[in-house]
């Protein structure tokens, strides 16, 4: 099994395809263009034990304020703590690209990001996030390398939970965590670019993990995804995320993701 996985990775590395870094579950170090905005709608549906399916809906607005700085702001609605889907929180995410080295068909970039999230949810799980689950602060670094038409991106961040009811509610709660991810993607279609109207089909594979301090719970997820890009400005993403290892108490361990995003270039 391990051997075949390594072999598959080597094959993927050697295939001369154009890599993509418009990841579905994580962010690349590259920013969106300056003066550009993109609304996005995301839905996550997951199976839960003994209760109805988990649902989370996340409208978001992405803004490219300059070539180096971009902002995401969004709200989340879910049924994590409620019988029906309700508004649960809001967040603001900022990313600053501080290093960029471009060559023909290749680049290496690094960015720093910070996210602050507010959540109405009570703290119940070991899994923590600033996007819906908790009131939290998340700060981190991203490095993305595109070389010989293969791109890979790594992210690491420190998350501090700011929920007020942290101590009142539970004896053993999580208040700090380290997040990390490793992402790769490549373009399947078109085989050769001739126009902006061609449908682009990208495949992604991401590994997403979290380890908490104190309680030392952890999880590692694998998340494959497929992405369609229409008219070089609209993205439709479909992904599936599942846990491959971990002992953390989580709301959901397997989930589907669907998101749609339209980019308005140079519209600001």
């Amino acid at each position: 099994m391990k051997k075949s996985l390594i072999y598959l990775s080597l094959v993927l590395l050697s295939i001369s395809v154009k890599a993509q870094e418009l990841y579905v579950f994580s962010e690349p170090a590259s920013n969106m263009p300056a003066n550009t905005f993109a609304p996005r709608m995301k839905a996550v549906i997951g199976k839960r034990e003994n209760t109805s399916a988990f649902q989370r809906y996340n409208p978001e607005l992405q803004l490219g304020l300059s070539k180096k700085f971009m902002l995401h702001g969004g709200v989340t609605f879910s049924n994590m703590m409620f019988e029906n889907v309700q508004w649960e929180g809001a967040y603001l995410y900022g990313k600053y690209r501080f290093y960029s080295s471009d060559k023909l068909h290749q680049h290496f970039r690094m960015a720093a990001f910070g996210e602050i999230g507010y959540s109405r949810n009570e703290m119940m799980n070991d899994e923590v996030s600033a996007r819906g689950d908790n009131t939290a602060l998340d700060i981190g670094l991203i490095a993305t390398q595109l070389k010989n038409k293969f791109a890979v991106s790594a992210t690491t961040s420190y998350l501090k939970v700011l929920d007020k009811n942290l101590d009142e509610m539970h004896h053993e709660t999580v208040d700090e965590a380290i997040n990390y991810s490793l992402s790769a993607g490549y373009l399947v279609l078109p085989l050769e670019y001739t126009s902006y109207d061609q449908l682009n089909l990208n495949l992604y594979a991401e590994v997403l993990g979290q380890r908490t301090f104190g309680k030392k719970s952890y999880f590692i997820d694998v998340a494959p995804a497929i992405q369609f890009i229409f008219n070089s400005n609209s993205k439709l993403n479909v992904g599936y995320r599942f846990q491959v290892a971990g002992d953390a108490l989580r709301g959901v361990e397997k989930s589907f993701l669907v998101s749609f995003e339209h980019t308005f270039f140079n519209a600001l």
Binding site: A19, L22, P33, D102, H105, I229, S232
Partner: protein
């Protein structure tokens, strides 16, 4: 006074009546069509750009300029950089009435000053093209190679320095080019 007059005459003599008509730009740091569209849209928005034709596969952008509009070459690299990428090469084309260019001489073409790093008493008449080799128009490696062609400091900053204030006012933008 005489020197000033001479300098003035030199300046007039070195001002070429020329109009930039088009440019061919290659962008670096990207492969996908969505990124390319960001570059094209940014170039489309530049005030003096008439039309942009794109070869997505090779990241090549053929830009035509509006007639009788001031062409600001730096605005092209700014547009590409604002889209999130870099200029790998830029070749500009202008129509010349008649002008002779020499190595390390500063010459006004249209509204901007140019410094040719490799010209040898070359006469430009009619349509002529040259490559801009300032820092934000070539890769780091290429810049090293091209900037070694002259000993004048202005190549490092793209602005007139101690080396060339006789020809041009201090801190004036000077585009460095090879032909």
């Amino acid at each position: 006074m005489k020197t000033m007059m001479f300098a003035l005459l030199m300046l007039v003599g070195l001002t070429s009546g020329a109009q930039f008509t088009k440019a061919s730009l290659q962008a670096s740091g990207l492969t996908c069509s969505m990124c390319s569209k960001a570059v094209k849209t940014a170039l489309d928005k530049v005030s003096f750009v008439k039309q942009v034709q794109v070869d997505i596969k090779n990241q090549q952008y053929n830009i035509s300029f509006k007639e009788n509009e001031k062409v600001d070459i730096d605005a092209l690299s700014k547009a590409v950089e604002d889209a999130g990428f870099s200029v790998a090469s830029l070749v500009v084309t202008a129509n010349f009435s008649e002008v002779t260019v020499n190595k390390d001489q500063h010459i006004k073409i249209g509204d901007a000053y140019f410094h040719f790093l490799n010209a040898a008493s070359q006469q430009l008449k009619g349509e002529a093209s040259f490559t801009i080799v300032d820092k934000s128009f070539v890769s780091e490696k290429q810049f090293k190679k091209y900037s070694a062609l002259t000993k004048m400091q202005c190549v490092q900053t793209g602005r007139s320095a101690g080396c060339c204030t006789v020809d041009v006012p201090e801190q004036t933008r000077i585009y460095h080019a090879i032909i």
